[in-house]
Symmetry: C2
Subunit: 374 residues, 2 copies
Amino acid sequence: MTTDETRLARAYLLRVAEPPAPEVVSLVADFGPVRAAELVRAGKAANDETAARRHLDVAARDLEEASGRQARLVIPEDDEWPAWQLLALANAAARGVPGMTEPLGLWVRSHARLDELVQEAVAVIGARAATSYGEQVAGEIAYDLAQRSVTVVSGAAYGIDGCAHRGALGANGSTVAVLACGVDVAYPAGHTDLLSRIAVDGAVVSEYPPGTRPARHRFLVRNRLIAALAAGTVVVEAGRRSGSRNTAATTSALGRPLMAVPGPVTSAMSVGCHDLLRTAGATAVCTAEDVLADAGRIGVDATTRSDEPMRSTDGLDRVMLRVHEELPSRGGFSAERIAVGSGVPLPRVRALLPELELLGLVQKCEAGWCRRQG
Amino acid sequence: MTTDETRLARAYLLRVAEPPAPEVVSLVADFGPVRAAELVRAGKAANDETAARRHLDVAARDLEEASGRQARLVIPEDDEWPAWQLLALANAAARGVPGMTEPLGLWVRSHARLDELVQEAVAVIGARAATSYGEQVAGEIAYDLAQRSVTVVSGAAYGIDGCAHRGALGANGSTVAVLACGVDVAYPAGHTDLLSRIAVDGAVVSEYPPGTRPARHRFLVRNRLIAALAAGTVVVEAGRRSGSRNTAATTSALGRPLMAVPGPVTSAMSVGCHDLLRTAGATAVCTAEDVLADAGRIGVDATTRSDEPMRSTDGLDRVMLRVHEELPSRGGFSAERIAVGSGVPLPRVRALLPELELLGLVQKCEAGWCRRQG
């Protein structure tokens, strides 16, 4: 089966390329995952990103192990792939924002469809060393969001993240934990039970293969997925140098609403939030109503879009439009020719074509790429 | 002496017309204060605003009584009149904002010049029923502002206002209390000593004649002076229906920066501040540095302006420009003719001409008004 082959190829690439892996992503865009995997395996492409691990041909074992733990690999070829949400990463990458590479696939521990879980989702994040004030507010906002059928996305850390997940679960709502380690790795250890509950009532998600240990750099890489899977991000508490600042910056880079909860100006754990209000264009949110008011429009847009596949070019940004307009209606152009014609750099063209394909605007043909009619 | 006559006339008008008195202000703009006072006294003009009190011909006594209490009446004809600051009221009135009438004069208990006191000034205001958190923050911000030679303007009420004044005094700085009663009336009673200290190290200011008792409507009318005399307004704590909201709205109507101190979202006394952040375009300020960063530019502008009288029309708004452009360089036009020519309503023309005169851009001549050269 093609899908199995494709899934095996993506599982392999996720195992051998440490995200973000723009070369591999670009290779997949150009040749498809199966051929890209072959090229990587043979040491013929994306060597910088894959040389160290390309011998780890354990995709079948990874998929099997995941399956044994009620997990699966969701890939862009699946219906449940949250394409609209993740499109923001491709757009940001096309605008030249570094590190915004789309994931090659997502390992998911869940009983639900991933696209449905994040159809209306808000990220609620913050400091590990939260105060009781922050924990209370995070829990309340998450509870109230979940009661309104909004999924709470967070990072499963101690402090604010944990309270956000628990608040959503307390309302019998859905919550998604995006990890910087394998979905089968209980990290932090004290959240083992919490992660199991999240997997039952929501989803535990990661682009790292089963068994991957958390590492400092992986948290930063992971943060882009939290920002991308949610319609907006709420920072509840953050110190001056909190990791939440990174997710906040990514949220803005993706064009999503950034929100911060005010707190006492005398609290070190609110310094980061107030700084986001003053310097990062965050809006002040005190309640779930505030959050929905500020993130709502995008949530609604996303819903409309995913219900009704877009066939026009209305939603495209300028760069995407240039690429689309360069495409022929009949026959086909190579990515190189489109780059020369549109003036858009080749790597961006390579990243954008599959996105335009997902949108139903372009298609592959024998000679390369062309516009899709109707 | 002309000034004495003028001062008596304005003292009379302040006694007989309850502010805001747009008809009387317009009358003064057209005929000058002395003739305006005569017309009012004779019952020939602005009857709606003066009929009830025009018999109270006690200007000389008011001036004498004030003098006995180390107070004086500062009028627009005085060098120390804070013309630049109050110009914002005339501009707002010209834009049709209701209640923005300029004061006819200001009773001042102070050893210092009023214009110098408010050259760099910030309003720090808030709820009477403040929390200890709000009182602490108000005191600290006021202290730090005063240490940087910024005058703290407030309303002398219990709670935040009192802490703001005390904070400034604690730093041996200047502070200005704008009252909704006579400058000789100790209100609130518990602040009698505080008001005396403010009069020594700053100024107690009011447009209400000596002996006037505070009244609910006077606080709202007074608030426009707090907003106008300061380069920006900081709301430290405010409940959902706080009077500070009125001063905040006026601040924005005057085009001045509005700032709010964040607090716990769980505190009823921060609800008003967070609402200002969310819906009124207030910026979040945590420290005096934040306040200076947000109010600073206007403070600097105002300083530059008052040091160096403006001779060009650069700073004029659109309506003022239309009036100015309609004026002849030689001869003179009546206000009526300028109104017809410029399309600006006559009352606005009447209000704007004296302001343009203060700016040195126009002058009165025998036939009416003309541009001032050079």
